[in-house]
C-alpha cells in the first residue's frame, strides 16, 4: 500500500508541475508573444471588443438612451458590480417562466416607447450576459430611434450597418453579426 501511496503522490506532483504550470505558463508565453492584443482581452479605446456594454445610461427613468445602438439587454451588466469582476452567465429563466414573460413585456413596451418594433435578440438575454453582438436585422430596426435622436439620415445609418456587418466565418460558421461597440464608435465619428 505504501508503494501505491508514494507513487501516487510523486506522480501527482510531477503532473501538477508539467500539465498545470509548464503547460499553462508556456501557453501564456506563446500567447503573449504571438497574439498579445487578443490574449489581454481585445481591449480597444472604448472597451473590450468582445465584451458587451450597457448602452442604456445610468438614469433609472431613462430606459433606453436613443442616441446609441443597443445590444442584448443583458441586465445590470454583471461586470459592473462594485468594481469587482462579477459573474458572467445568463438569467436561466425557463421558457414558461412568468418572470421571463414580464421582463420581455417590459422590454417590448420600452422599445415601442422609442418607436422601435424589437426583434427577438433585443428582448432576450444572452448566454454569457456580455454578448457583444447583434444581428444586422437587430441594428436595422433601431434606425428610426437613432436617426431621430442624432439627426443622422437613415440611409447613412443603413450604410454604416452594412459596413460593420461581419461573418459568418468561412461563410457558414455562426451567424452574421454587428459588433455593437464598433457600430457605435463608427456612429460617433459620423456625428
Amino acid at each position: 500500500m505504501l508503494t501505491y501511496l508514494r507513487r501516487s503522490l510523486l506522480l501527482a506532483l510531477v503532473l501538477i508541475a508539467v500539465l498545470g504550470f509548464a503547460y499553462g505558463l508556456a501557453g501564456t508565453g506563446v500567447a503573449q508573444a504571438l497574439f498579445s492584443y487578443q490574449a489581454n482581452g481585445s481591449i480597444t479605446k472604448h472597451g473590450s471588443a468582445l465584451i458587451g456594454q450597457n448602452w442604456n445610461g445610468y438614469s433609472t427613468t431613462k430606459i433606453l438612451d436613443p442616441q446609441w445602438f443597443h445590444g442584448r439587454p443583458d441586465p445590470d451588466n454583471p461586470l459592473l458590480a462594485n468594481g469587482k469582476p462579477g459573474e458572467s452567465g445568463s438569467a436561466n429563466l425557463g421558457p414558461r417562466s412568468t418572470v421571463l414573460l414580464q421582463d420581455v413585456k417590459a422590454l417590448v413596451k420600452a422599445w415601442h416607447a422609442v418607436g422601435v418594433t424589437p426583434t427577438t435578440d433585443l428582448v432576450t438575454t444572452s448566454g454569457s450576459g456580455v454578448d457583444p453582438d447583434i444581428t444586422p436585422q437587430d441594428a436595422l430596426v433601431q434606425i428610426p430611434m437613432v436617426s431621430k435622436a442624432t439627426g443622422v439620415a437613415p440611409s447613412r445609418l443603413r450604410a454604416l450597418i452594412a459596413r460593420e456587418t461581419q461573418g459568418p466565418e468561412l461563410g457558414f460558421l455562426g451567424s452574421p453579426v454587428v459588433n455593437v461597440l464598433a457600430l457605435n464608435e463608427a456612429l460617433a465619428k459620423l456625428r
Partner: protein, 580 residues
Amino acid sequence: MDFAWTIVALVVLMAVAWRFLGAYMVAVYETRVHFLGFIERPIYRLIGTAPDREQTWKRYATSLLVFSAVFLLLDYLIFRIQGSLPLDPQHLGAVPPALSWNTAVSFLTNTNWQNYAGETTMSYFSQMGALMVQQFVSAAVGIAVAVALIRGFARKGSATIGNFWVDTVRGCLYVLLPIAFVFGIVFVGQGAVQTLSGPAHIKDALNGVTQTIALGPVGFMEVIKELGTNGGGFFNANGAHPFENPTGLTNLFSMALILCIPVALTYVFGKMVGALRQGVAVLAAMTIIFGAWTAFTAYAEHQPNPAVAAAGVVHQPTGNMEGKEVRFGDTQSALYDVTSTQTSTGSVDGSNDSYTPIGGFGLLTGMMLGEVSPGGVGSGLYTILLFAIIAVFIGGLMIGRTPEYLGKKIQAREVKLAGFAILVMPITVLVLTGIAVSIHAGRAGPLNAGPHGFTEILYAFTSQANNNGSAFAGLTGNHAFYNVTGGIAMLMGRFAIIVPTLALAGALGAKNLVPESAGTFRTDNTMFVGLLIGVILIVGGLTFFPAVSLGPIVEQLSHGKFFGVSMAHLTALAHWRLFP
C-alpha cells in the same frame, strides 16, 4: 443551410480524427511512440515503474483508486489554502470546505460540475494547478480504463491488462498535451484571453460606462476542457463567454475537440481487437443516436420561445434566443450543447435552462442514455462496450446459444459485471432525485417553479451521475445538501462503473478465444448495430420515462400556462430583473 455545412465540416474533421488520431493512439498505447521520452523516462524512474511491468486487473484498479484519492486530497488542499499561494491577483481567499470538496470530486471524476463562478472564486493557481491538471489527468485515466478493457478483449489467456501508471502518463503526454497546446494557440488567436495579470478596468468615454473585465489564463484551459470532455470553464458563463469561445470557428473546433478522442477510440478498439469492422459497428450506433438527438434538439430550438411569443414578439425567425449568443445562433448552439451532453463534457455555449421543453429534453435524455454517443473520453467506449455485452447476451438468448463477443464467451460473471455497471447510474439518479424532491433542502434548490423546477433537480443528478457537469443552471447547487449528494453521485458514476469495467477486462483477458463458426452471432453487421441501439434506448427509456414525463413532457404539454419562480430565489433574482 449554414447548419448543414457545419455538420459537413464536423463529419470531415471526425473522419480525419477517426483514421489518423485513432492510428496514432494505437501506437501510443502499444508504446511505439517515444518523442517525449526525455520527460517520460525520468517520471517512470521517479515513481519506480516501467512500461513492461504489467499489472493484474486488481493491481490496476488499486493503483487507479489510490492515485485518485491522493489527487483528491491534494486538490482539496490547494483550494483551501489558495489565499496563501501565489497567482491570486484578486485576493480571493480560501474556498469554503463543502464547496472545495464538491469541486475536487467534480474535477477528479471528469464531471466538472461547478457550484461556483470561476472568475470570483478560484485563483489563477487553483485554476491552473488543480482544475486544469485534473482536466488532463481525469481524461487520461478514462482513456486508460477503455484501453485496458480493449486489451481484455484482444488478449487471450493473459493475467495482466497493462500498467496503470504508464497508460496514464502516456495519455497525458502523447495524446492530450500536444493537441491541447496547438489548439490553445488557435483559440487565443481567435480572441480567447491568456494572461496572468488581474482584471482590466475601463471607462468608456462614449457612454460613461465603467467596466471591470475579468481576465485570466483561459484559452489553454478552454482547449483541454473540451479535448478531455471535461467541460469546466474558467468563467461562470462557460463556452458562452466571448473570452472562452470567441467565434463561430472556435465553436466548431470546440465540438471537434470534444468528439475527436471518443470517435478515435472506436478505431483503437477495432484495430487492437484485429477487426476494424467491429469498431465501425460501435461507431455507427453512436453516430445514429447522435444524429437523431441533434436533429430534434436543433429543430426544437429553432422554434419560438413561448414566453417571448406571449409577451408580444410572435415572429421569431432566429429561433429561441433567450440565453443564447448571437454569434452562434439557435441551431449551432443546439449542436454544441448536444455534443456536450452526448459526451461527458457538459460545457455549454448557451443557457440550457432556457431551452424549449423539447430542446431541454434532448440534452437531458442524451445523458440518460449513459453518454455513449460517442460519450466521454474513454468512458464513452467502455460504457457502450458494456451495453454491447448486454446486447450479445440478449441476442444469445434469442438464438439459444452461449453468447460470444469478439471470440470471448460471455458467461454469468461477465453479464453480471456489465449489468451492475449499467445500473449504477440510473439507480443513483432516481434515488437522489427522489430524496431531493421529498425534503425541504432539496426543494429549495430550483429557480423555476412547476415542471421546469423538477427538471432542474433531475437534470442536476443526471448530469453528476453521468460525470457530465452541465446544468440547468437555475438550480442553486452551492448548499450543503447538493454539495454532498452531488459528490456522492459523481463518485458513484465514476468509480462504481470503472471498477467492474476493470474486473471485466481481467475476466475477458484470462479467457481463450472460441473459434468462429457458422452459428456465431455476428457483431459487425447492421443487425447488431440495430440491436445495440435498441438495448441502449430500451434500458434508458424504461428507466427514465416516468421521471421525464413529470418534467419536460408536462412542460411541453402546458400550452398557454406559465409558472412563477420559487420563493427562495426571489431575492437572488432581483439582481437579474431588468426593471425594478
